[in-house]
């Protein structure tokens, strides 16, 4: 059974999520990927205010396709999270509690998740049309010039996700592969 959770994520929710859990996530999530992350980190380094408040927030690593008329958003599946690894620990330090993407995270990111009590979820990569159906609204809130890489505020309903890394140091990718490996 999938666990229903809502954003922003509080301590209690984060504590009960375990690697391997299936989750249906609802609420506001912010999109950001490579170029947006670079800008956010630059602002933090300069001591300036961020265009979004990160407290308890979940960032979805996605660069959506443009919306067809009558739809809030185009196809919107996850992008490879590893590219955001150099930036993720700093964002966790500044309050981020969840990340949605696909693919492995570095040891530094996993350590930071334990330290700052944050969770990493995977959405089904490539299934962008399906994910878009769960996104009820979308608006660009920063960096419009980045096109697909702009920061968008999404409202999602029952977005299906898998918990990959939890605050206890477990990793679903490692556990899943170990279970089915035959070589």
């Amino acid at each position: 059974m999938a666990k229903r959770i809502t954003t922003p994520l509080d301590e209690e929710t984060v504590a009960r999520l375990k690697a391997g859990d299936q989750v249906l996530l609802s609420g506001v999530v912010y999109t950001a990927r490579d170029a947006a992350h670079k800008r956010l980190i630059a602002l933090i380094e300069e001591g300036k205010e961020l265009p979004i408040d990160l407290q308890g927030q979940v960032i979805y690593y996605v660069g959506p396709a443009p919306a067809k008329p009558g739809n809030p958003i185009g196809s919107a599946g996850p992008t490879t999270s590893g590219r955001m690894d150099p930036y993720a620990p700093t964002l966790m330090e500044h309050g981020m509690k969840g990340m949605i993407g696909k693919g492995m995270r570095s040891k530094d990111v996993r350590d930071a998740m334990i330290q700052h009590r944050a969770v990493y979820f995977a959405a089904v990569g490539g299934a962008g049309a399906l994910a878009a159906k769960r996104i009820k609204s979308a608006e660009v809130v920063a960096y419009e010039d980045l096109g697909p890489e702009a920061i968008r505020k999404l409202y999602v309903e029952d977005l299906p996700l898998f918990v990959i890394n939890d605050i206890y140091g477990d990793d679903l990718y490692e556990q899943g592969v170990a279970k089915y490996r035959k070589d």
Binding site: A67, K68, G103, G126, G147, V177, R181
Partner: protein, 286 residues
């Protein structure tokens, strides 16, 4: 002796064909891909894996029904031209005609524009997904076959090349391919299609690997030794346990396609190019 006959193709026809290809290739998965995913869903050992494969199938049906891109990453437009030597393009520049088709197709189809004009300093999005990456083969005849394979970044980044010595042999190739897939893990959106290019040289092996990806999914190399290698690699890869989306399972790859070319006596280049389960590509012949 008369003059060689040439067939005229107006540049505008190429632009129109490209526009259609861009939209269709991103929204409509080849039928053989769907059948292949269905077949693997029936044998997948992990329950979560089966669930993921069902979601993938549902996604592809939805994409085709609503003419939305199956994946938001509608990639860089990789174009393979097989141009008959008796074809003459009239009324415009060939590359410009292709790029105009990409521009129109990506705009009309609500496809994501994912190209930056320069890789290191500014990385500014060109906003129209041009330029396309164009590979041209001159072939006999008076037809122009255009194959478009939009290539997303996630799977592409998991590619690799090794310049091996001939002594490495089949074992070396096998090890390199499997290691490459193992290292890629969940990143390229498994179940994946594995394109392998063996031989040629430093620049042609990766091109062979990419061409291998546009073969009909599950088709065999006509050389029986290479066909056997494809089967063997597929079996070995599916024993890695990576499974659908890397969550664990018996379906890591849907197919392995190997292409080869003659090479230098001192060389054994091997390239691996991965595709996600969407593996979009489509052709039009003018």
């Amino acid at each position: 002796m008369g003059c060689a006959k040439s067939r005229v193709i107006p540049a505008g026809e190429i632009t129109n064909a490209m526009e259609k290809l861009c939209i269709s290739a991103c929204c409509n998965l080849p039928e053989e891909n769907l059948k292949r995913i269905e077949a693997f869903a029936a044998t997948e050992e992990s329950e979560v894996g089966r669930q993921v494969l069902e979601m993938i199938l549902e996604n592809h049906r939805l994409a085709a029904r609503e003419q939305r891109p199956a994946c938001q990453d509608t990639g860089v437009a990789v174009v393979f031209l097989e141009m008959g030597q008796d074809v003459r393009i009239e009324g415009g520049d060939l590359a410009a005609a292709i790029n105009e088709g990409v521009r129109r197709g990506y705009e009309k189809g609500c496809l994501r524009k994912s190209v930056v004009s320069e890789p290191l300093f500014e990385r500014r999005n060109t906003r129209d997904n041009t330029p396309a990456i164009i590979h041209t083969d001159i072939v006999p005849g008076d037809k122009l076959k255009i194959t478009l394979a939009p290539k997303g970044g996630g799977a592409e980044n998991m590619s690799g090349i090794a310049m091996m010595i001939p002594a490495a042999g089949v074992e070396g190739v096998r090890k390199f391919v499997i290691d490459q897939v193992r290292k890629a893990g969940p990143n390229p959106c498994p179940p994946i299609v594995v394109g392998v290019g063996v031989g040629g040289n430093f620049e042609t092996a990766p091109l062979l690997a990419k061409k291998a990806l546009v073969r009909p999914m599950g088709s065999k190399n006509p050389n029986p030794a290479y066909a056997a290698l494809e089967d063997e690699l597929l079996e070995a890869i599916n024993k890695l346990g990576i499974g659908p989306q890397g969550l664990g399972g018996s379906t890591t790859a849907l197919a392995v396609h190997v292409e080869y070319a003659p090479c230098h006596i001192a060389s054994l280049p091997v390239a691996v190019n991965l595709n996600c389960h969407v593996s979009p590509h489509q052709s039009i012949t003018l």
